[in-house]
Amino acid sequence: MKELAKMVVVLTVFAAVSAALLAWTNSVTSEPIAKAGKAEKVAALKRVLPPCDNDPLSESMQFGEGAGSMVFHVARKGGEFVGAAFVSSAKGYGGPIQVIVGVKADGTIQGVEILDAPAETPGLGAKVREAGFLRQFQGRQAADTRWAKVRKDGGEIDAVTGATISSRAVAEAVRRGLEMFAAHLEEMKAPKNASHPAEESER
């Protein structure tokens, strides 16, 4: 009986101390983690968008509903629409792959980057992060998205060797976002003051 009591006490104390340590760690790190995540997104936005003088992160619009909805970050220079970036995701080999895509006002893609691909196989699927693969998207047109498929599916994107599923997911995420971009281009072009109602709901 005494042995049993000791086991219970020791395990409880272990769990409690561990929980306390983790709670402390979480309280110390949660703010820097959020900040680092935001800084990362700002940096990515800057790379995929043309030069602008507004803050694309805060000037966002949401289109679509439910799971298919997408947030667009609008870039303006002197109040003029110069481009927009969106975050889109699709199911890859091991889990979702999140991409960020920047499109210029004339409908050509400025850049595509992988924001997060946590579950792709290292050395295979994870290679979709590499510039050689992502460069294929640059300069493509948003108006006609038939090219945005891997060659196996009839598109013009060369899949990463051995990682067709991951490559396909990236192409699909880009294509879905581009279709949304084309459908809502006029709304984004509207001057900032004619505020879109969705702009509020994003906050």
Partner: protein, 230 residues
Amino acid sequence: MKFLRQLARGLWEEIPVFRVVLGMCPTLAVSTSLENGLGMGLAVVFVLTCSNVAISALRNIIPPKVRIPCYIIVAATFVTIVDLFMNAFAHELHRALGIFIPLIVVNCIILGRAEAFAGKNSVALSLADGIGMGLGFTIALSVVSVIREALGNGSVTVWHGIGWRIPGAPQTLLMILAPGGFIVLGCLLAAMNHIQARIALRAGRGYPPPAELDCRHCCLCRPSPQNPAA
């Protein structure tokens, strides 16, 4: 002196992957490039050292019947702390290693060393054991990674695009995939056994059976005229 000897044991005599044959899961999963191997290895050094010290310090408090859950709690706590701190203050590094850090909890080396060493030895020796075993794991992982990356991808990447491409090297996809991991690991294990058996026989010693390895199916170190000590 004892400290250094214990540290060195993890590097050769009881090198985790090749001799103790623990930690196979991350070895096979992660060893697709040197960068990944090094990252995983260094994260393990840190967690293993911390958990060894903590478990050794608490070894007289932990009741034997519930020692395994206690060890797991200690290891999981350290892993989560490392994960969160790395994410907060070394975000770039965390991006590269993110998927491997949670894997450390289920790394048998942590539990194996807690059970086989830290639970029975002093804090100082457990510290040495943690560092030595961690570095040994890093070395083993790096060797497997270099071979797989060179054969499978024609390159050797040390860190974030810093590395070499081997010009004209054939890229054998198989080596990057899981079967390649098993093939490389099997060859390396065989080579390691061969070398160590040779060294032992030449020195007139018997070849000690690998610690904690089931050797019922191996006749390498069975008693024989050449190997009387085993």
